[in-house]
Subunit: 373 residues, 4 copies
């Protein structure tokens, strides 16, 4: 409703700021009897954690998660899962750095709009709630969603599709899965990945940051998922993905290319596979028809902007002094957001799919007929 | 929640199928004291109505709307507005045409997934609830939202940006508004529009249909609109726009181009205008920072696929007979969806903005301090 | 959210005023494949319809319902069900009567608060949306809920428990069901019912109206229904029942008597029945423990105030003239609301149970273990 | 949605079990610029804390709350407030006590239904999430709501109205407020309070527990609050109050007495006070007409059952062994829940009022007319 809750039956509520005491998340709708422990969540968080490579932020947060509610003897009880991460790398020197420039608009940053929204009380410390730091808790909740989806045979895999125009070659789902962690930019095409990393390092040396495109594929999603009209699965996934700070565009399947297609070029032709199951010869629809899953892979791409923090002087406005000023170089930054954003994007997709699965089964449960198809 | 309701404080719930008796919509959250009449709604519906030009469907629905609840002596009372449109062009011959092919999957159509979802009970008549016919009621509700937004100084304007690769030239907001109705494809660039129409007519003659891109601009949106984290204004608009059947991609501002940009290329530089107001020198962010409005124009583009109904034979599957079959040419169809989709897209954007305006003012109302910026 | 939607997965949205053109309801979450027709809904509506006995209102509304969306060939398709009832008994003479006193507060009526809320634009005609007339659509939606619950073995039965202090004797669920329609006050205890009717007719002759208590019993509700903490089944039923205009109190099981009980007097003792199923020797809990169903009958009682419209002069305030004035006798009124309110109360209980059933099954569906108890 | 979130614009999500690591709450919708600190919340929590008098539980939880998110330099930033309380009094001996009887149904306890709902994975330790321990976080969130309401001139005051049939005499709002803390049972009528305490201590000596009735009054609530039809303020307050574990009945104003009243006995007569404001001569409506506030005090009473834990042997069922068994006396218990439940009930009322205030102002904010009344 308000901004800090996501989902209906699988329902995630989070809080916490960049330089606050802690981040918390409460996940409601987790079924009883699931074996989980801190390490299951930590594993996913470690993929998003900063300070791990020369192309991400040097901020040294350990992102140590602790499950404090919803478990008994290592199993979920049906009660909501509560998790907490305490912020550790927030020394006075960092706070002071932010305080020094607190009236200056940092170009491209989310916090400007928070200043307008909340006035003089907005959090000026490292972007507060507008910081990408909040995405920790998306990943923690997403880890739970992924574990549950796994038991339903559903996998969600994201990777860097392109960076600064360097594109990964087309690869099969299995190859992508197997090789995505071959490099620090999470690109399964090793050659392209190597080039991307070189490009990012070059750009980093200029004090700059790099944009790119992430592709997310969900395999094993049963056909029929999604609600008609306003709550199409595609629309809800769009909501989830576009809620990630740096995302400026989104496509399903053929995406923007449909704008140049004729009807019969765009339509995917159905056929019967060897098991008599309806499949489609192509997947230009990206796995959605009318916003509802077709049983083919869900294929989504998002455009990720370069980190707005740059080590380059930028003119800006001092909101308190009401004058234009120079904002000097800022050093703690992610040269590119791509690698760290991937688990966040996967999490949003996983949570949305799970939520829809629960909704569908919910009202479908009172249906007595047998599905024929 | 389920698929047929949209919004939180400005809350739209709709029903009705392609060939059912009627379409209905209930709009909750409309303030009291607003002067409206059927004609105010009809005006917008007429922009979406079929049968008006050689590039849209020949189905002769008059889409005559009647407000049946929420008004007293021409003014809203604060009660929910109820509107109804009876379907008129649904003759036995059309129903029979659909019945004849009811077990055949129509490639590219939404109804396949409904068949999977609802089994043998799914509506086979003209795609039922999955038909674009439901968008009538989005436009009816959107008309209300636009009227209310107008009193807040907010305008939402959509137009055809490109069709089959033919692009409208960049134009100012005022020009777009003034000239968008110069032609039947709703393109304010008259020259480009003419070419687009020729292209669509050619394609129509082949029995085919055409895709394109629609741009929507919202002007006058105050800075600070949108909720942090999951319910960013941008995320909610993405939800609304991607819930329109034929939309396969979405961008804000520079959109997918950010994937090739460096940080300082992507950042919009703030300045103080002659009135001392913070403005931005460029609008690559499309009017959103951290998903919250910056006060600049909101700029959104959506990729619209070609109508899946084509007058060309297509192989498909007979779900009942479990065999592959040829689906013959279908004649009643929209050569392109672009013109008719524009008021639908505007409606989704308008409803989302209004909903956020109400939410923000709602919790903001208990804040006692004066905003400085 | 706003006031005109109820439920989450089984989701009812309504509109329409006392003297507007029509009442509409949209019911989302209805499963596909259900055989229903107008008559199934009409049957329930006829139980609430006015003008049927000397103890209800003489207003001659036929309440003829028409399903206009969500059906194909007599079966639900999974699309939302749309229903409409046109108001027929609204002649100029009635409108004029209301117009004449439109600035006078009618004591005990809901519309006063609407005047405060919506100012001069509030609907003054027969209480507008605040009129009991809206309950038509609760009954129409409730009829659907009951049909679905029936297929799950769940029944909801309400009856008049007491009127002006005259109490029905304790009776078994089956007797109540069998005999509740023996008289016009819907009291299965024929003797007590006869006395209640005599009392109401006496009171009617004085120009007055009568209060009473309605009991609703839901049988067949499986144990385990209801969500922990805020969305207990009991809390949600309380929400639904207290949303009916004239209801001023609510009890479950022993209700207010628990205020004089000791722990062991209040606790229901569990035992194993002949089938080895856990049952309780008493049902002072009214079928709820921790707000979740125990498998015993849900037993609820609501206090229904006398109709505020009386044929007796009452002092009041003219809001426009800002002076105290006499409000004369009003003749069109229900001598008691009890009989007509019963199907409304049953509907709220049925919708709430169904909604919870769908929610529970929704998230429970991903649980792989077998329930042992 | 699911059970652990409450409210729409002022939105509270909680987690945590009786013997889990911690309880957490996230409060969304808190405006920026509010000065709060841990002590402001602690003050309210201390009123609910156990171990403070001979008539409450001896469990020694300190309920030390820490605000870990949403604050910067002592002021709210508009970000959600996160609070955490670690459980401290959970020694192995207690856990073992619960483990020993984990298959026995404890009569009158909420956890039975959790066992049915969640099967063998349900939390058997001190009732888990079904324990009254969760109400800590209602009080923490309620403390925030009260602070905000205070700035709007709204106060919510609860007290023990009766216990085991001993009634407090009628008193003015100001007297109640001034004297409610004169004794440990929170009864402003000192004489009656003394008798109640004696009665509870007697009952305690028998190994038993005592029921009672709590009255809550909200003063200063503006007229016009509440949404029509399903989301009446009264219905939402009913939802909130009935969601508290031990509550079995609820009345507004005259409550169940309306069942014996005639129309003109029940109606409250409006008049103009010395300032020309509409007031009512009586308040049998309890401050609600049509479920919307009238501007008079909101007056609510709830029936609180005796603690189900008793030091008396009770027959019960062993769910694992499938046989009837004796459950021995349990010693750690609240002799009565009344005193500790009062801040919980106040919190639910405060949160509901605040939520409605925000909703109303939200959509009302786009209304341009001036309210006349």
């Amino acid at each position: 409703m308000l901004g800090n809750t996501y989902g209906r039956l699988f329902r995630v509520t989070a809080c916490g700021e960049s330089y606050g005491d802690a981040l918390m998340v409460i996940v409601d709708g987790v079924p009883a009897g699931l074996s989980i422990c801190d390490a299951d969540i930590q594993k996913e968080l470690d993929l998003r954690r900063p300070g791990q490579s020369p192309i991400d932020s040097p901020r040294m947060e350990t992102d140590q998660v602790k499950i404090v509610a919803g478990l008994l003897e290592g199993k979920t009880t049906g009660a909501p899962i509560g998790m907490v991460i305490y912020n550790v790398d927030r020394h006075d020197i960092h706070v002071q750095q932010y305080k020094d420039v607190k009236d200056l608009i940092r170009p491209g940053h989310a916090e400007y709009t928070f200043f307008v929204k909340y006035g003089e009380f907005a959090d000026w410390c490292g972007a507060g709630r507008a910081s990408g730091r909040e995405t920790c808790m998306r990943v923690a909740a997403g880890a739970l969603a992924k574990i549950i989806l796994q038991s339903e045979g559903i996998e969600v895999v994201g990777y860097t599709k392109s960076c600064m125009g360097i594109e990964a070659k087309p690869m099969s789902f299995d190859e992508i899965k197997a090789k995505k962690h071959s490099n620090m930019i999470i690109c399964p095409d090793e050659e392209a990945g190597e080039k991307m990393i070189q490009k990012v390092l070059e750009i980093k040396d200029e004090g700059e940051t790099a944009g790119g495109i992430v592709e997310i594929i969900a395999r094993g999603v049963p056909a029929g998922l999604g609600e008609p009209v306003f709550d199409k699965l595609s629309a809800c996934i769009a909501h989830g993905l576009m809620s990630i700070g740096a995302v400026k565009g989104l496509e399903f399947g053929a995406g923007f290319e449909v704008g140049c297609m004729k009807g019969s070029e765009c339509n995917d032709i159905p056929y019967l596979d060897e098991n008599g199951k309806v499949r489609f010869k192509t997947n230009k629809a990206g796995g959605f028809l009318g916003g509802i899953s077709t049983g083919e892979d869900l294929v989504m791409r998002i455009a990720v902007k370069p980190t707005p923090t740059v080590s380059v002087d930028q003119m800006t406005v001092d909101m308190e002094a009401r004058e234009e000023k120079m904002l000097g170089a800022i050093t703690r930054r992610d040269p590119t957001l791509l690698a760290r954003l991937i688990p966040v994007a996967e999490s949003m997709v996983a949570m949305t799919i799970l939520d829809h699965l629960m909704m569908w089964r919910g009202y479908d449960s009172v249906q007595k007929f047998e599905h024929k198809w």
